[in-house]
């Protein structure tokens, strides 16, 4: 190692010219470079849609009498049901990684010693995570939406307004899963534990609780009840498991957003680094 001072004129990189604030860009970089995470999210959202429509097309081509067209409203409904669940899983993976990544690697300490506010460090994770997750989930949706129209054949094709509503709803459920996992992992500091807990709750426990009518209005507080209420009516057959007003659904969603973010931010600001 030399002790000679090296003065290098370095052109500013693309990251600095980006519209994204630098901290958000840095968080995005950390996510984007995790190959395993990128592949997992892709495999959960885009790949099943490609496989699903390929299978449906093949079946229809092989036996049109027995298997109807691959597209149409009914197939959109089925694929959205699967895509929403898998997008929740993807959101959990991304959120858990966002909240615990710096802590797990020990880099949180290095970020804190820069003097930058811990709140700012935490806040940058949300847009970075959404910026990473939503385009991939959106790609999965784009395949579904395109397939439902192009391959509708004799079936009723979904309307443009239904597709817009479905996309917004899918983005909402994926984002909520991310925010919930981000908050929990910021508190626990463990990616694996967070994935286990949030996955167990959102994918296993909460759907079971939604089915238990004896719980009555207690079910109103579940995130799944509120997001079901906001799902486009034409997308899923029948009424939601839990009947609740739109205002109540919005309130429940707001609480499931604010509380994890607030608790995660508080823990990020107060923990020993």
């Amino acid at each position: 190692m030399s002790t000679t001072t090296v003065t290098a004129t370095v052109p500013r990189t693309r990251a600095q010219r980006s519209w994204r604030p630098r901290l958000v860009s840095a968080e995005f970089l950390k996510l984007r470079k995790r190959r395993g995470l990128l592949i997992s999210v892709f495999a959960l959202t885009v790949l099943p849609m490609i496989i699903g429509y390929t299978v449906l097309l093949t079946l229809h081509a092989a036996n049109p009498g027995k298997h109807g067209p691959a597209g149409g409203l009914k197939n959109l409904s089925g694929s959205m049901d699967m895509l929403s669940t898998l997008s929740i899983v993807a959101g959990i993976l991304v959120g858990a990684t966002l909240g615990a990544g710096d802590l797990g690697s020990g880099v949180f300490r290095e970020l804190v010693v820069t003097g930058r506010s811990r709140l700012a460090l935490f806040a940058a994770r949300v847009p970075a995570g959404l910026g990473f997750l939503l385009p991939i989930v959106g790609a999965g949706f784009a395949i579904t939406a395109t397939g439902s129209i192009v391959f509708a054949g004799s079936l009723e094709a979904p309307s443009a307004s239904l597709l817009v509503g479905s996309a917004a709803w899918l983005g909402l459920v994926a984002s909520l899963a991310l925010v919930l996992a981000l908050g929990v992992s910021s508190v626990l500091g463990s990616r694996g534990t967070t994935i286990g807990i949030v996955f167990g709750w959102q994918i296993v426990a909460a759907p079971v609780l939604l089915q238990i009518r004896a719980l009555g209005s207690l079910r109103d507080g579940l995130l799944g009840a509120a997001t079901d209420r906001l799902a486009p009516a034409a997308l899923f057959e029948g009424s939601p498991n839990v009947k609740m007003s739109l205002a109540a659904a919005v309130l429940v969603i707001a609480m499931w957003t604010i509380v994890p973010v607030a608790v995660g931010a508080w823990r990020t600001c107060t923990r020993d680094a």
């Binding site: 090296v6 290098a8 901290l23 950390k30 470079k33 300490r109 010693v113 003097g115 930058r116 680094a273």
Partner: protein, 314 residues
Amino acid sequence: MNMQGSSGFVVETSGLTKRFGDRVAVDNVELRVPRGSAFGYLGPNGAGKTTLIRMLLGLTQATGGTMRLLGRPVPDERAVALARVGAIVEEPRFHKHLTGRENLTVIAAAREPEAHDRIDGALARVGLSQRADERVKRYSLGMRQRLGVARSLLADPELLILDEPTNGLDPAGIHEFRDMIRGFVAEGRTVLLSSHLLDEVEKICDEVAIVDRGQVVVQGSIADLATGGERTILIATSDEEQALTILSEHRGVESAATESMGIRVTLTANSTEAQDDISRRLVLAGLAIRRFEPARVSLEQRFLEITSRLEEAA
């Protein structure tokens, strides 16, 4: 390098204390680190060195006392103070899935916009330019240490805080690290080096504070510590037997023994008058004085002397 604050000290603590339950890790520490020096914070493992550094950097809260970094009170003005502080606390940690350059980009994003422009220069400074685009998981420990230094240079630091920076380095790496630290000091930066390695501190630092059981027990320049408080002098004369006789009869002499360098004399007190009187008597006896100087001890000897004295007192 921007200079911030006008105080002669880059670190000042007063009554700084950290307790973990009943255990006191840092006990009422009064520390002054002079600007532009290599300052050693020396103590055995578990003495509270890292805890003090973690408090200075805002990684953990102090239980009591006050701190100033670069003249700024912390934690009140922590962000401003830390903007010109670079630090390696224990082992430098990185995102292993990112390259060296990307890791620096992540940290630069949390610093001032100019930090981004310093990345290439910092990598060149530590000799990592050629391997900057490799993932950190492929780096050796020595390379990670160097990347840690590069990361701390992104702040264009007035103060570098390095906690046990040579842990795990091979002798060549330690030598390089030593040169690099001296280079930083030559540029006018201050380096606060925490270590339990006495030899390392002695070779690198100008000033030192010795800490034991959470307390700073002595602080001063290496030269002063090697002689200061020491009651031993070395004397070489033309006739050592006669000199020994004179010394053994002197009231100010506790003991005198011949060794290869001359006669090692331990005085009853650190008294200039006693030393003057001894030299006068030797000259009056007709002896030629070839050596008369305070016996220097290594920092290690001094450290052991201080800590063993504390153990006896405890």
